[in-house]
């Protein structure tokens, strides 16, 4: 297995708060890495730094693109960065409103990335949008409906279809099932996991829910106060936590 993303010594401060304190992580092709930790530990900040929506104060991030070039993300020109975000990468937000255009139909949302990369045949765009809305288990009859009348779970599925249609290689997710009912959550996670496997995606998923982490991730990074306190294979970390903080996390989830 080959690396696809490498981050070294990432720092990000908000005032006096070290949201990311000297963090280094690597992601391998086809691997799902989970970032866990309590609220405020810096998970989202790290994810946003990696995906380019936040500029870290220091550090180095490189990404291996489709053509096998290592790109230095922090010095990458803005047009190329935005292009990556539309083609090779995807970002699934916790709140679907941040990732969808609520005034545009489901089909328009799913097709947007295709049109952005130059698709100019309506029937073709429509056919691919239909294929994808079905792939995320929404009835194709809903293609012309606005996402504002969808349930939370459907909106999240739609966001996933919108992101995956251009077959990205790397996908960032921040609490993709947060705020959903447990049963809806379980079905959505199932769907995400099978799509990730089917498409061979590399994933970084942020969650504070260890059950989600166990279900999704091959490897875990445990964060506390902007630092990585433990990292390892998911089962190892959850079944035999080494750091006292991880032990606390694991025991508290077991009590619930």
């Amino acid at each position: 297995m080959e690396q696809i993303l490498k981050a070294k010594a990432i720092n990000k401060k908000f005032g006096d708060v070290y949201a990311c304190n000297n963090l280094s992580i690597e992601l391998y092709t086809g691997e799902v890495v989970g970032i866990v930790g309590e609220s405020g530990s810096g998970k989202s900040t790290l994810l946003n730094c990696l995906s380019g929506s936040l500029v870290p104060d220091g550090g180095n991030i490189t990404y291996l693109d489709r053509d096998n070039n290592w790109l230095d993300l922090l010095s990458l020109p803005e047009p190329r960065k935005r292009n990556l975000l539309r083609t090779e990468w995807a970002f699934v937000h916790q709140n679907p409103r941040d990732g969808l255009r609520m005034a545009v139909s489901a089909g328009g949302n799913i097709g947007e990335r295709l049109m952005a990369i130059g698709y100019r045949n309506y029937s073709q765009i429509r056919a691919e949008a239909t294929e994808w809305i079905e792939k995320v288990e929404i009835d194709a009859i809903r293609l012309d409906d606005k996402p504002s009348i969808f349930s939370g779970g459907m909106q999240q599925r739609l966001q996933i279809a919108k992101n995956l249609i251009t077959k990205p290689r790397l996908i960032f997710m921040d609490e993709p099932t947060g705020g959903l009912d447990v049963s809806v959550q379980a079905r959505l996670l199932d769907l995400i996991r099978s799509l990730v496997r089917e498409l061979g995606l590399s994933v970084i998923i942020v969650t504070h829910d260890l059950a989600v982490a166990r279900f999704m991730a091959n490897r875990l990074i445990v964060m506390k106060n902007g630092k990585i306190v433990e990292t390892g294979l998911t089962d190892q970390v959850l079944d035999d936590p080494q750091h006292s903080y991880t032990q606390l996390l694991v025991s508290s989830i077991l009590k619930v």
């Binding site: 803005e78 047009p79 935005r82 255009r101 005034a103 545009v104 139909s105 089909g107 328009g108 097709g111 947007e112 990335r113 295709l114 049109m115 952005a116 990369i117 100019r120 045949n121 309506y122 029937s123 765009i125 429509r126 293609l143 012309d144």
Partner: protein, 278 residues
């Protein structure tokens, strides 16, 4: 000195303002389709009444110009008359209804039917200059989209049109790509007029007063209407004949002609219609 200063200050605007607008116009012409910000001034008419167009016209007019003002193709609607009167008063330039005799034409909602020539300037009154606003309300974001030529969103709008109406139903302000680069809103002209913008001999200037933007299409510039391969752009018009002049190739208005509600189709371009009659 005093003499030349007098010349320069004619047409309502003070010298500084006129210079600022002319600078914006030159920049706009150099970057076809690009929206140039300008410091729009208070004009003696409310926004929505063509203050952007009026400022552009005022910045262009010279004493030897002949001005025509149209609103929806007609020279004698309230809006057109009041703008024409305004310029008669503040400049004393000659005015005309004859498209061929005008050197500057200020318009709202139409491009004249008669083919324009190299020595003419067409000034459009623009309410909303940003074609991407419908889907992306953030100005910061639309500016980046223009800068990086990220125009997928414009097709999302056309996609929505087709999926809702079975065809591209946008009939006015139909988006165009200028000089293979910038996407531009042609102002609320009917899409029937879009092809007239392509390789037009005249200079086309656009002024949006409330939004403080100026943009332009220089003569002989490519202006292409966006579409899909399988839903090609059509410069549609009512499939009727003008009941006044018999024209079959003009943009028609449907007008009520008596109090019984009888309707009639006639050219929206009244000067053209008159010229065909005789």
């Amino acid at each position: 000195m005093s003499n030349s200063e007098e010349d320069f200050n004619f047409a309502y605007l003070d010298e500084q303002t006129k210079r600022m607008i002319r600078r914006a116009l030159i920049k706009a012409i150099c970057i076809p389709g690009y929206q140039v910000p300008f410091a729009s001034r208070e004009m003696p008419m409310p926004y929505g009444w063509g203050t952007g167009g009026v400022q552009v016209t005022a910045a262009c007019l010279q004493e030897t110009d002949v001005l025509k003002v149209i609103d929806q193709g007609s020279d004698d609607t309230t809006n057109a008359v009041s703008i024409r009167k305004f310029f008669e008063r503040v400049t004393g330039v000659k005015t005309t209804e004859n498209t061929g005799k005008a050197s500057v034409i200020q318009t709202r909602h139409r491009i004249p039917e008669q083919v324009l020539s190299e020595d003419q300037i067409l000034v459009y009154q623009v309410p909303i200059p940003e074609p991407l606003r419908f889907l992306e309300p953030r100005e910061t974001e639309t500016r980046v989209m223009h800068a990086l030529e990220e125009y997928g969103l414009m097709h999302v709008k056309l996609y929505e049109d087709i999926s809702i109406n079975g065809e591209i139903s946008t009939a006015y302000a139909y988006p165009v790509k200028v000089n293979d680069r910038y996407i531009m809103d042609p102002s609320p002209t009917p899409k029937f007029d879009n092809p007239k913008m392509n390789f037009c001999s005249a200079i086309q200037l656009f002024g949006a007063g409330r939004e403080q933007r100026i943009y332009a299409v220089p003569p002989y510039t490519k202006v292409i209407s966006l579409d899909f391969e399988d839903y090609p752009f059509e410069a549609s018009r009512a499939e009727k004949t003008c009941e006044i002049c018999g024209a079959t190739n003009t943009y028609l208005d449907e007008v009520v002609i008596d109090d019984k509600g009888t309707r009639m189709f006639s050219c929206s371009d009244s000067d053209y219609c008159n010229s065909q009659k005789s």
